[in-house]
Symmetry: none
Subunit: 202 residues, 4 copies
DNA sequence: CGCTAACCGAGACGGTACGTCAAGTCTTAAC
DNA sequence: GTTAAGACTTGACGTACCGTCTCGGTTAGCG
């Protein structure tokens, strides 16, 4: 979607090099406008104007508004969080959930995520890409759960799909509806409740 | 938002009577287009054309696209489900969740809900109205939980907000992401897991 | 066009009596709006609202905007000016022109006339009716000139059409373009110039 | 108002070059529709459709309907008539009036002029621009008269405003009312009558 | 060192839908 | 059967962005 981290050797033979400043100013303009006016009011035209860049320059590097926003999101995250491995499921999930809930504190990431979720509802082509991205996130949690299964922390036969939903569902629900704040400090209690629910009842 | 179920005797003194057929055809056109092309591709102009109705007629009765979709959703639901009261929290929540999950089987309602959630991310004015609607749904679950609290089915001090999120969160998450089907048959197991999580651990 | 001055005993057999107040308030609203916002901004809808009358009531009595404005114009003129007959062409024309130029002092009549002239350019159906009305005015001047011809005040063979144009043309031109004020005091000089132009040159 | 006859080297710094074909087809469509249906029925939307051009392209170059019509008028006139200078006022005015009356033979120019006069009555903002345009035409005649004054062809103290009105008034009046044809062959006689009217009567 | 490719800016272009407005017609209820 | 109220169809308004395109002008790196 972005062009930043792709094939390192495109078969180029010459030509003007890419203007890195333009890229940054576009991503920054995107982030700024996202926070100021929301995903709905974000337009490519507006981004270009704000970034002092030609509209065609934006279109050259990002083929659509969600692609642009995804890149702005990635640009914001910068350092990728490593997959937690504390030795216990509770520790892993708590660390993961705390990271997740921290997104609620970052307006750029929060607006980007909710905007992308909205876009996925509006544009079925993008929905596919979005679902794929969600899948990678779910798979991460899936690995934590599989390790816990091996350690017999949760019973065999546990519905891992539902278990994963219990982690992500409440997070997305709060992020989207904003009926209550997303506080990383709540992560521990929430995870504990979920884990207790998954235990084998004798 | 709608005009259908309001004061039965508006103080009218004259004037052409409202054309009920026009209303129905608009709502049906909305539902049809919603399912066929999705919320994003739904336009007032398209609805008017499909319903063989003037655009201004649509605007007279529904001031915006989300208002129209909300009415189409309500029109689809028709008979309101009563608040469940089976005597136990498990029974109540299972009934409630089964009803909820059944939405996933109804393309009109599913598309309407996901579209409205998207709209709430795009339009902060609508977000307010949407949040209010969500609140009424949460309050229903809140009443079930409060009754259970009185019956000592769940421990005093339970975080009711999180408990409610555990019911709605996974539902919305599946509805929006569509990574797994929403099956009413799963309601019982899901509710059991949540309730076990809420129990006091000695 | 109007309904005001017609058969005093219409063969009515029953039904609600016509509301004369409604008529007056419509005409007054028309005159007021004409002066306030000009012919272009005058709408039947606006007149109805200003007159506290239903739109359909306006449409019942006046079939179009120009018809309404013509009636408002007639209503303003009230007492019809008699055809001048002073014994000399100069006297007749000066009296006539002074009356004509006085219209420039009456905003309602001025706006009505210029508006109707505009309407005649926009709506070819109305142009016909307007031309007929203009013809009656020209015929009046034609009678003054014919009498003068009999009295040998102007030479036989005079182009009466052009002579009439020399009276009305500058009047309309000033009324429409407003490049210079229309002053009844100028009537005498203007008429004298025209008459001198019509004299037989040896 | 137009963009056609301006600075030959606009300081362009980039951007797609203007499509001259689109311009011509818009102006031709305007002229055609003007003649076919009249100024009143002329719509920007209709022009765009007829010219096979996007509505926004029309709006890009002409900010309003009168601006478009003025350009169509200018486009029709093409070669500007030079200010006449025959040595006598009678010759100058006859040449000028003959040119003027010739407009009556050209449906495009005639419809454009009457439409613009109508527009000036409807839209006070445009009236200003229209009045300015009229002023330039009047000033031309004013220069002819001033020269004649210097040559003592007309008496000192002549009311030049009224003299100018005697040239333009009858022309506009016939053009607008169409009670009689506008024939360039009449120009000579009309001018003679006016000039005789302006002579000093001893 | 010049060629060439790709970049960047500017902005025109054909489109689509927006939400508004008034036109003129029609239907109903009240008087 | 007039009057009031207002629902309805129709059509154009002027605006905002869309995504594509065509320019003029720049700036690498390869040969």
């Amino acid at each position: 979607m972005s062009t930043t981290p792709q094939n390192p050797q495109p078969p180029r033979t010459g030509g003007r090099i890419r203007n890195e400043d333009a890229h940054h100013s576009v991503l920054e303009a995107t982030a700024a406008l996202l926070v100021e006016n929301g995903y709905g009011a974000l337009t490519i035209e507006g981004v270009a104007k704000r970034a002092n860049v030609a509209k065609s320059t934006v279109y050259r590097w990002w083929k659509s508004k969600p692609a642009l926003v995804m890149d702005a999101y990635a640009h914001e995250t910068a350092t990728r969080v490593p997959e937690p491995d504390t030795g216990t499921l509770e520790g892993d999930l708590t660390a993961f959930a705390a990271d997740l809930y921290a997104i609620g504190r970052d307006p750029v990431r929060a607006k980007a995520l909710t905007g992308l979720m909205a876009e996925a509802q509006l544009d079925s082509a993008f929905a596919e890409a979005f679902r794929a991205w969600v899948r990678t996130r779910r798979e991460l949690v899936g690995r934590l759960l599989t390790r816990a299964l091996a350690r017999r922390e949760i019973p065999a036969g546990t519905d891992l799909t539902h278990a994963t939903d219990l982690v992500f569902g409440p997070f997305w629900y709060r992020l989207l509806v904003e009926h209550a704040p997303l506080d990383p400090a709540d992560a521990e209690a929430h995870v504990r409740t979920v884990l207790q629910g998954l235990e084998r009842r004798e």
